[in-house]
């Protein structure tokens, strides 16, 4: 039960962060969201400690609020996404007029 609760504690901020990163590949998005969830929870605890306002309940609310804010930000900016820009071309090749000679 506690393991499930702990999983939930990390899953909520992770999902919120994942909604902020629609442009990443799935694996990258998953890993980045995991790391973001960890630092959000750890950062909340650290800030509570430094401000002298230690309270696990308030911390939980802070994590949830932050997750909600992130999810809202992710949702607000979710518009039909333009296709990814083409990879930048090698300028050296573009400038070189004889470049076509060496392409195979």
């Amino acid at each position: 039960m506690t393991a499930l609760l702990a999983l939930l504690l990390f899953a909520v901020p992770a999902l919120a962060c994942a909604s902020l990163l629609p442009g990443l590949d799935p694996v990258g998005r998953l890993v980045v969201s995991t790391s973001a969830a960890i630092v959000i929870v750890a950062g909340t605890a650290q800030i509570m400690l430094m401000l002298g306002a230690w309270s696990p309940g308030a911390g939980l609310i802070a994590v949830l609020t932050l997750s909600a804010a992130l999810a809202t930000a992710g949702r607000a900016r979710r518009h039909p996404h333009p296709p990814a820009p083409p990879p930048p071309r090698n300028e050296a090749e573009d400038n070189d007029e004889d470049a076509w000679l060496y392409q195979d």
Binding site: T2, L9, A42, A45, H81
Partner: protein, 731 residues
């Protein structure tokens, strides 16, 4: 340059699932055979462990009592994984499952066998966490580790939030869990590399099996290491240059037309000659995503700095190294990281540096002393068996470094320039001159080197950037062509890698739990501290026996000391009389010095530690305990086989110690400090805005960053001035 852009379909990098279509029939049989082999190995490893007698353990540690079947099971697990690598295409679920089983087996075997969470130091982590949960603050004057309390606060918060009040399961199962977590960012690092799937999966396997240093327990170091891996993974995935350069062959002198040949030229080419980058082109991500990732990098830095004192330095160095070799586009990031680190040290760890300015900077540059203390210096007075284990550790570390260097050279000989791996391999060495770190810095360096070292070792066996084709041109005569073409062309490399993998696994089981004789924590060890804390209110002065002067060797009791009620416990060592264990007069004197709160505590693990590492006679503990029990001055509070607690029958009424009140983070002020507290966030904001702006600029337009640079420069000077002023004024 087509080589870089061409993505070979058989390359099988974990990012694309399109590989060669499977061969029906034969492939499936091999797959089932490999899975069965792995299952058999896991069964052989775990089932015989029921009958293990931990009491029969000798100075070689856990390996001396592990049944032969368990060792055979470990060998089978290795063989099954290597057989999977020999298959013609990657079977990711099977490989991942085996990696999981291996991690749990190697890093969980002692935890499963022992009645309590192993190894005394983790119990101090429990003490810090308990202190924060109870007092809701920290106390910088109790321990230097309270100056970087991020990790303790994190665990305390999570435990309180989910209602888990017993920390023991966390302490116990942290090593396998953290090792599994490390694999997550490591996979992200691996996928950016130009290598075959065999090299990548073998590197991941090595990362689990070569991590014998035991820094993966529930500790700030283990947590900060995870953050470090995430930090590096995000950097190398999304913040590399648009087009990276390695020196390429000039058009006139490419390949066969090179005129200058000879040995010198070949060595020169190996080092500086034209190469292809060892990394794949970075995955494309929209600017908005990269901005979010940049902010995440910054938060990772902040949290890492608040959690551990060494890791942020390595984050800074890794980032700077990647920038220097042009594998990271965030040129301002090392400055941000360095400022965050310096500011934390200046503002938050005052209690630590103010009292020992000389000592900290004394460690600077004393590289040779550090080498000796970290490696050989640890072996002086130890018993033969413990010394063997230590030698084996040094040997494994040396072999790992040597093979990694060989792997790097082999890739270079193939014309591949592994700059990311090289930087990550070299960066940890920069911390050598930094700080003495209790003679432990060599272990840390090995630990931080591992991600790159494992990768380079995998390259030694599988150096190709993509799979060699199955069919070769029949007109070209290959030396040993039969081994190098056809469906079995990978077998020789896999066989060589298997030999190394088997040796490494054996070495792991020997050295990881090589000190288990004194690193296990028995139920009565914890009980001894409960007895002392429950017997009276207020402070407890713990007297403990040390064979050597602990002020010189930096020793602490090998017990779960201070696992709760940190502020009530204080410690006073007495130095053992080597000649006569029955001479208890130093102990009695030590107890008298503690006044009414004095207790003498000894445990079997602690006695074994003194015997194995400091050369006390084997029966020293027993004879000492007999003498204590029979002394009229001493009252026995607890006496079991594993632990004993004694106190004076008539303790003196003075001195009475005070229980220190929580002192907080101890951020002390100086005249310029308020200004620093204003400048610092502004400076970090400007630098972060500068990096965010850089992401939006087209390549080559960096001069448009100048306004922000001009704004940042005076702020930087001010912050540095405040840091220097604090260091000079506060003492």
């Amino acid at each position: 340059m087509t080589v870089r852009e061409a993505r070979d379909p058989a390359e099988g990098a974990p990012r694309d699932g399109t590989a060669v279509p499977p061969a029906p029939g034969a492939g499936r049989t091999a797959l089932i055979a490999v899975a069965a082999l792995a299952a058999l190995g896991a069964g052989l490893f775990w089932i015989p462990l029921r009958g293990v007698d931990l009491e029969a353990m000798d100075g070689y540690g856990l390996i001396s009592v592990l049944p032969a079947a368990t060792l055979a099971g470990a060998a089978l697990l290795v063989a099954a994984f290597m057989a999977t690598l020999a298959l013609p295409r990657p079977h990711r679920p099977l490989l991942a499952a085996q990696l999981l089983v291996l991690t749990v087996s190697l890093h969980g075997v002692a935890q499963a066998l022992e009645p309590n969470a192993r190894f005394p130091t983790v119990w101090q982590t429990a003490g810090f966490i308990e202190y924060i949960s109870r007092t809701h603050t920290v106390s910088w004057d109790l321990d230097a580790r309270f100056s970087t309390p991020g990790f303790f606060a994190f665990i305390a918060f999570v435990m309180n939030a989910v209602g888990q009040h017993d920390i023991e399961p966390l302490l116990r199962w942290a090593p396998p869990v953290t090792n599994l977590l490390y694999l997550v960012p490591y996979a992200l690092i691996l996928r950016t590399l130009r290598a075959t799937w065999r090299a990548k999966w073998f590197a991941a396997w090595l990362f689990v099996a070569a991590n014998w240093v035991g820094q993966d327990y529930l500790s700030p170091q283990a947590f900060a290491y995870l953050l470090y891996l995430f930090f590096v993974a995000i950097l190398v995935n999304w913040f590399r240059h648009h087009h990276e350069t390695a020196r390429r062959a000039g058009r006139r002198r490419a390949g066969g037309t090179a005129e200058r040949r000879g040995r010198v030229r070949r060595v020169y080419d190996l080092a500086f000659g034209p190469k292809d980058p060892g990394e794949l082109p970075p995955p494309q991500a929209p600017v908005r995503e990269r901005s979010v990732l940049l902010v995440l990098l910054f938060v990772l830095l902040l949290v890492g700095t608040a959690a551990h004192q060494l890791t942020p330095f390595l984050m800074t160095a890794a980032c700077a190294g990647l920038v220097l070799v042009r594998r990271c586009g965030l040129r301002g990031m090392p400055f941000i990281a360095g400022i965050v680190y310096a500011a934390w040290v200046s503002f938050m760890t005052v209690g630590y540096w103010s009292s020992r300015k000389g000592e900290i900077f004394g460690g600077l540059g004393k590289v040779f002393t550090n080498v000796r203390q970290s490696t050989g210096g640890r072996i002086s007075q130890t018993s033969a068996q413990t010394a063997d284990v230590q030698q084996l550790r040094i040997m494994i570390a040396a072999v790992v470094v040597g093979l990694a260097a060989a792997g790097l050279l082999r890739r270079r000989a193939r014309g591949i320039d592994d700059r990311v791996a090289l930087v990550l391999m070299l960066v940890p060495f920069s911390s050598f001159g930094l700080q003495n770190y209790g003679g432990e810095i060599a272990l840390r360096i090995y630990f931080f080197m591992l991600p790159a070292a494992c990768l380079l070792i995998a390259y030694l066996f599988f150096p190709a950037p993509f799979d060699a084709p199955r069919v070769r041109d029949p007109r070209v005569r290959l030396r040993l062509g039969r081994l190098r073409a056809g469906s079995r062309r990978h077998w020789p490399a896999v066989a060589a890698a298997s030999v190394f993998a088997l040796a490494l696994t054996g070495g792991f089981l020997a050295v990881r739990y090589g000190n288990e004789r004194y690193e296990q924590v028995r139920k009565d060890d914890v009980r001894a501290f409960d007895v002392m804390l429950d017997a009276r209110e207020g402070p407890v002065g713990v007297v403990w026996l040390s064979a050597e002067n602990p002020d010189l060797v930096g020793g602490t009791p090998v017990m779960p000391w201070s696992y709760r009620d940190w502020e009530r416990l204080s410690y006073a060592p007495v130095i053992a009389n080597r000649g006569d264990p029955a001479d208890i007069s130093p102990i009695v004197q030590g107890l008298k010095d503690q006044g009414p709160s004095g207790y003498f505590v000894t445990t079997r693990s602690h006695e074994d530690f003194q015997v194995l590492t400091a050369g006390l006679p084997a029966d020293y503990g027993d004879r000492m305990r007999r003498a204590l029990a029979s002394s009229p001055e001493i009252q026995t509070v607890l006496s079991t086989r594993d632990a004993a607690v004694y106190r004076l029958r008539n303790p003196p009424p003075a001195p009475v110690a005070e229980v220190p009140r929580p002192a907080g983070l101890g951020m002390r002020g100086s005249p310029w400090t308020p200004a620093g507290l204003v400048y610092l966030p502004v400076l970090l904001g400007v630098l972060l805005a500068r990096e965010l702006r850089r992401l939006r600029l087209p390549p080559g337009e960096t001069r448009r960053l100048r306004p922000l640079t001009v704004l940042a420069a005076p702020l930087l000077v001010s912050v540095v001035a405040v840091i220097v002023e604090r260091f000079v004024v506060i003492s």
